[in-house]
Amino acid sequence: MSIDMAQFHQVFFEESFEGLDIMESGLLNLSPGEPDSEAINSIFRAAHSIKGGSGTFGFTEISDFTHVMETLMDEMRDGRRQITQAAVNLLLGSVDCLREMLFAVKEGQAIDAERVAEHKHALDLEQQKSGSSQQDKSLSAHEPLSNQAHQSDSKVIGWHIAFSPHTDLLKTGNDPVRMFRELSVLGELEVTADFRGVPDFYQLDPEECHLSWNLVLKGDIDRAPIDEAFAWVEDDCDLAIQPLYQADDLSLLVPGAENQVSANRAQHPAAEHVVQAGVSKPAEISTPVVIKEKAPGDEAKNKGSTSIRVDTSKIDTLINMVGELVITQSMLSLIGEHFDMSKQDQLKNGLAQLERHTRELQESVMNIRMMPINSVFSRFSRLVHDLSNKLGKKIDLKLIGEHTEVDKTVVELISDPLVHLVRNSLDHGIEMPDERVAVGKPETGTVTLEAYHRGGNIVIEVSDDGKGLDKDRLRAKAIEKGLLDEDAILTDKQTFELIFMPGFSTAEQLTDISGRGVGMDVVRRNIQALGGNIEIISELGKGSTISIHLPLTLAILDGQSIAVGDETYIVPLGSIIESLHIKEERINRVADKGETFLLRSEYLPIIRMHEIFKVPNVKTTKLSEGLLVVVEGQGVRCGLFVDDLLGQQQVVIKSLEANYRRIEGVSGATILGDGSVALILDIPGLVRLANQ
């Protein structure tokens, strides 16, 4: 029977890419010299499953490559290898290489063998060299010799394998005999069974495996096929594979399962080859490094953004609520069946309950879409890590409030603008280390990403302790570029906002990181498109903070309904400043056409809704008989002339574009209580429309 493996490829690739993300973020969290067993374990696990999967599907290049990485990390995990920045960088590079390989396989392209070989070689080198560097640092007599070193010796005449399966090996469907048969194909195999573990006959469970074996496999054989034979049982056994050399006395190398640990304690050179799978006991190995246990819960990082993973508790709440709703509904229908006026109070109560349940249900459904902003924040570790290396700066990234929950749409859309801001901070904000020392700052700069809730908004701040914005230079630059009049008087805030103008860049040198002059204006536009705004605070020499305010969700909006003729429109409540009656004497006309309204010594342009939307049957075209809704959008204020204000309500935003088209001046549509459709106004779009 043959199974078409191709059907599982998609799942394998998805899992593998996810695994790579876990590896990447795990590696970035490793600090040199301080191994964190939980973090290394999670990296190791990810690598291991990629290796296993790629082996199964026959992507041998990938499994071979991952194996080399895995060996390196295994040594780190057991504390037999110091974690150095160089090693972490190397592993990060390998993660990239692995990603390229996976991508190539997925797309059916050829793997760039040269690049792979390069990385593999670098990994091999690292494995050989780190032994000596560790020796320098530690006083331990521990003498690790890497597998690769042995392998390259090429006088291996065979392998000694001590294989002691855990008792449940057989239950997982693995048969040692089959594995031995596989090995015997490779060379001359001698098998010695060890009966010492077999219990008394009456205690014997026939389904458990109590035997262990010592195997001697002779011949000029690579290690890889041997590992492969044991690949499936790695987690279910204690396995020690050691090469045999010409001069080695075979009798010395027949340790039982218990001897492994003692060999380890005795710091026998062969201890390096103990592949501790499953139950690894780092504490029993004498190492100079301290293993730090990390609190659980931190590991649930890095979730993919293509689908939402919802907490089961959220779903339980939802189910409860739907239950309540059904009860209310049946109660109401009972009242309705034999209704008379005496039941009026009951009906009112029932309706109130229905309203409450509906609202709660709505809230919890919205809650499902909320996901921690962490999924955006976590990718910055890599960015900062890479860029600071590239720029030769020392930069720490601090993440605060990464568990703050935001709507999925916001999470997806905020990523690019944030990347831009962080790059700017790294490139222009933080100074070179020597400059920093010269002005009395710590050599290492800090970039902070912070997220928190405030009101119905989420605030995301990107701050750095770099050199800050130079107001005079901003001003000079703006004048030079012709964006500002020479004698314009600007507040600090207005000056900082110059950087959001199109075509403005103060970078003296254009780098490939930032400073192309198409930056901040795009960032601001993107954020405003999300219904948010962006602010900048900066102090020369101390640093800058850019804060982004965004609505928590893009699906629901607080709106004010207005009437124009027979039609109803929704104005986002956030953009309304005030609404007032128009007094004739406050209206001024520019060139007898453009109408303005004088409000607290400010001339507001009046936009007549019925004119720009060509609404028929308006109640009045006389300004003094309608109302003026003063709105603000993208820094522009204006007055909307409408017939009447109707009421405030929360509206669910529906896309007009899904089945229809984009309409200038309209950001979307919603469904009103009576089932009809009302358009939601887009203030900046309206202003543009009115100016045409």
């Binding site: 039609e567 720009i612 939307f613 060509k614 609404v615 529906k654 896309s655 007009l656 899904a658 089945n659 229809y660 088209r661 984009r662 309409i663 200038e664 001046g665 309209v666 549509a669 469904i671 089932g675 009809s676 459709v677 009302a678 358009l679 429309l689």
Partner: protein, 170 residues
């Protein structure tokens, strides 16, 4: 045994018929009769007031709420320059769906009346004659005769394309 063979025979004949023919829903606009592929018709509704959309061509009447989705309604009479129709409760809206680009678009189309489901043998479909610029035949896939009347078969995918929205996609 023979029963099974017979069934197979019928099935095969049915399949053959299906491969060479398809069903169209015919409807009238004034004195003219049109047809659309029945598989693209999602439902048929009666006319209900729409919410007007500002600054769009007049044949785009507005949008309605179709079970939570915002669906535009276009008037085919106006689109084909057949003059204004009078909307009443008997006016029919056909809700059509089509793949435009890689998205499914749902749209309501106002017609005078839906008449019949017609079986169309693909071989009997004639291509639309060319009138030059005098009469636009861009939405017409072909012509067919049913009971001595000409029915124009419309291409729903082209019909649901909107001016100014989908032009740049082509």
């Amino acid at each position: 045994m023979s029963q099974v063979a017979e069934n197979n025979e019928i099935e095969r004949a049915e399949k053959k018929r299906l491969a060479s023919s398809s069903q169209f829903l015919s409807f009238t606009l004034g004195n003219e009769e049109y047809g659309v592929d029945i598989l693209s018709v999602q439902e048929i509704r009666s006319w209900e007031p729409v919410s007007r959309i500002p600054n769009v061509p007049s044949y785009e009447k507005g949008v309605v709420n179709l079970r939570g989705a915002i669906v535009p309604i276009i008037d085919l009479r106006e689109r084909f320059h057949l003059g204004h129709g009078h909307y009443s409760a008997l006016t029919v809206v056909m809700v059509l769906q089509a793949m435009i680009g890689n998205k499914t678009r749902v749209m309501g189309v106002v017609v005078d009346a839906v008449s019949n489901v017609i079986d169309v043998d693909k071989k009997s479909v004639q291509s639309a004659p060319n009138f030059g610029s005098k009469v636009s035949t861009e939405y017409i896939n072909g012509l067919i005769t049913v009971n001595g009347r000409m029915v124009m078969l419309l291409d729903v995918n082209k019909l649901l394309k909107l001016d100014g929205v989908d032009d740049d996609e082509n």
